[in-house]
């Protein structure tokens, strides 16, 4: 099985195959000797790769994993071949102005724009209170406000749609 990984800006490919009951791996086409042992059911992994030992911690699901190696954190997005093909097809078919989403759970305390307003990239759109701090949520790009998905006083979760912008 081949997996396509995105780590930050970089793309990596890992292929896993089972041979005689043993799992073999290639990373970007290079075959690597490894041993992967789950320590517990909580995310601790004993990983030996190329003879080097790594105490790996992992949390996440099939699409996205948070991996920590010796205190360094890697956010890994994963796809198999079918998922990748489906995403590429979808990207080609639609081109939207975009929706500004909440990157944290919080409460909307103020909305600074109205439907129909033209906004510049970086302009503050609304103020979200989280962890007792007021955070300005800014426009990722220039556009026109098409829809407000939230109102003042509303509690929003991480990833919630806030404001729809129409690209210019």
């Amino acid at each position: 099985m081949k997996y396509f990984l995105t780590i930050g800006e970089r793309n990596r490919e890992v292929e896993l195959t089972e041979r005689m009951g043993e799992m073999c791996a290639t990373i970007d086409g290079r075959e690597v000797p490894f041993s992967y042992t789950e320590v517990d059911q909580l995310g601790q992994i004993a990983l030996i790769l190329d003879g080097n030992s790594y105490a790996v911690s992992i949390e996440g699901d099939e699409a996205s994993a948070s991996v920590t190696v010796a205190g360094r954190h890697f956010q890994v997005e994963l796809e198999n071949e079918r998922e990748r093909a489906a995403r590429v097809a979808e990207q080609g078919s639609s081109k939207s102005g975009g929706t500004v989403k909440s990157s944290m759970p919080g409460v909307v305390v103020d909305i600074l724009v109205a439907v129909g307003d033209a906004v510049e990239a970086g302009q503050s759109l609304l103020i979200l209170e989280a962890m007792k701090m007021q955070n300005e949520i800014k426009a990722p790009a220039a556009g026109v406000v098409q829809k407000l998905h939230v109102s003042v006083g509303e509690a929003v979760s991480n990833g919630a749609q806030l404001i729809a912008l129409k690209g210019e």
């Binding site: 990596r12 990373i27 992967y36 909580l42 911690s57 949390e59 010796a70 360094r72 103020d110 962890m131």
Partner: protein, 511 residues
């Protein structure tokens, strides 16, 4: 000494007080919200009293409930920790009026230092240097713009009743003032119920250096040296160290003397911290924190002085029993705060349930924490989960020790700032001591480490592969492979303390 004290707090600081109290033979009483039924401080105290509620206002901020718990348990003193009611003069007065010892400074000192405007007036009168700025607060943006012209940009807008980085905005030009003023005022009103703001000059490349002081009831006062807390973001500290690389014996004595003068000016008692901003060889009074600080352990590590023990002794009326010449500084100590935040996404708060935990250990590594498996990290409480503290004979050894401790440590279920701390400690400028309070904001976190990335990529792929296979197997009913029959559940086996179901309520008192 006290027979029994109540700790009006939660998390790592409640644990910190419990530990010293127990060593001194003092019984401890914890109070807890519904959310904290399974918390460390609830379990580790001698007695625990349920306050009910999940929000801080219904529990750790509810003076009536806490005073009632103290009376019912026969507590002779109340230790407020930091945050919550620790700097609430009204609470300090009510505690004393109830015949209970307030393990903290006098209410008048809390009040004088808690109001930043009043404290600056008092400090000017006591000949303590303060940052150029307005003495009186302003209530609206237009007067702020006018005042800023006189002081000169950049301007720092600060909440008159503020602390902990809330209600602070930096304004570089007049056009930014209005929005900054509005958000700072909103934050200040929400956090402190007081929307007044004051303005001051924002200093160039400032370093945050604070001095620990200790006053008893018998006229004795000492300082315990400085802590440098310049590695911070949005005024939330990440790394603290003692001593500071820019403070020599002469400057230490000078800052210590000024800090004691600041304390005397408000008739201070107990442990406190005088914060200074250092810029280009000058230092200015910033504020005094009239409580135990989060970063107090690094002072304990270099002086050998248990600050909680000293707080309890002084509150009980004992004299310090030593003077400044008895205070010795040895080696170097560093603390890293482990906050639930995502450094790769601008340090936004991170929430989740803690499952995966691996602690650091080894020589001269100390962990102060209230963390446990099953803890739900939400938005209602402070995001600080733990503090890692190390000591070394010199700064380089301490840095190396902290790096290896952070490599051993892992908290899974939320993102933490530990990886950013590791980047700071590995940065050449930090190692050279060339830092200021903007260092963290400017730090590039996108380092490429190919070998570790290979390990991460492989681990993520195998993890996914196994998850998919496990799911495929569990989907087919009747498939009873050995490993599955033993019930290897992937999801957390820990039930979170989320419901407020009355039948689940813990009993009022547990001894």
């Amino acid at each position: 000494m006290f027979k029994r004290i109540l700790i009006a707090n939660r998390g790592e600081i409640a644990m910190r007080v419990i530990r010293t109290a127990r060593e001194m033979g003092i019984e401890t009483v914890s109070v807890y919200s519904d959310f904290d039924r399974a918390a460390m401080h609830t379990r580790m105290a001698d007695r625990s009293v349920a306050l009910g509620g999940t929000q801080p206002s219904e529990s750790y901020l509810d003076m009536d409930k806490i005073l009632k718990a103290a009376k019912e348990t026969g507590s002779e003193g109340i230790h407020p920790g930091y945050g919550f009611l620790s700097e609430n003069a009204e609470f300090a007065r009510r505690v004393e009026a109830a015949g209970i010892v307030w393990i903290g400074p006098p209410a008048d000192a809390i009040e004088a230092m808690g109001d930043k405007i009043e404290s600056r007036r008092r400090m000017r009168a006591a000949d303590v240097p303060v940052v150029p700025g307005l003495v009186d607060p302003v209530a609206e943006a237009q007067s702020a713009i006018a005042a800023a012209e006189e002081i000169g940009y950049p301007i720092a807008l600060k909440a008159a009743a503020g602390g902990g980085g809330k209600g602070i905005r930096i304004v570089h030009k007049a056009s930014e003032m209005e929005l900054a003023f509005r958000t700072a005022q909103g934050e200040s009103e929400a956090a402190f119920g007081d929307g007044r703001l004051y303005l001051e000059r924002y200093l160039d490349r400032p370093r945050h250096i604070e001095v620990q002081v200790l006053f008893d009831n018998h006229g004795n006062a000492i300082h315990l040296g400085e802590r440098e807390c310049s590695i911070q973001r949005r005024h939330q500290k990440l790394i603290e160290e003692s001593p500071s690389v820019i403070v020599d014996d002469e400057l230490r004595a000078q800052m210590g003397e000024v800090a004691l003068r600041a304390g005397h000016a408000v008739k201070y008692r107990g442990a406190g911290t005088v914060e200074f901003l250092w810029s280009g060889g000058e230092f200015f009074f910033l504020e005094m924190n009239t409580r135990l600080q989060v970063e107090h352990p690094i002072t304990e590590m270099v002086t050998g002085c248990d600050l909680v023990r000293e707080q309890l002794r002084v509150a009980f009326g004992e004299p310090l029993g030593y003077d400044q010449s008895d205070v010795r500084f040895q080696g170097h100590s560093i603390e890293v705060r482990i906050n639930a935040e995502d450094p790769e996404q601008g340090y936004l708060p991170s929430t989740g349930t803690i499952r995966n935990l691996r602690w650091p250990g080894g020589p001269w590594v100390r962990v102060d924490s209230g963390l446990y498996r099953g803890l739900e990290v939400g938005l209602s409480y402070d995001p600080m989960l733990a503090k890692i503290i190390v000591w070394g004979p010199d700064r380089n050894t301490a840095i190396a020790r902290m790096k290896r401790a952070l490599q051993e440590f892992h908290v899974g279920g939320v993102r933490t700032g530990a990886s950013a701390a590791l980047s700071v400690l590995s940065d050449e400028r930090f190692v050279d001591g060339d830092i200021d309070t903007h260092f963290l904001e400017q730090l590039d976190l996108t380092q490429h480490e190919p070998k570790m990335e290979d390990a991460a990529a492989l681990a993520a792929a195998v993890h996914r592969h196994r998850l998919a296979r496990r799911r495929a197997l569990s989907d087919s009913k009747g498939n009873r492979e050995g490993w599955r029959a033993r019930g290897r559940a992937f999801s957390s086996p820990y039930a979170g303390p989320r419901s407020a179901d009355p039948s689940q309520q813990a009993p009022e008192l547990r001894s």
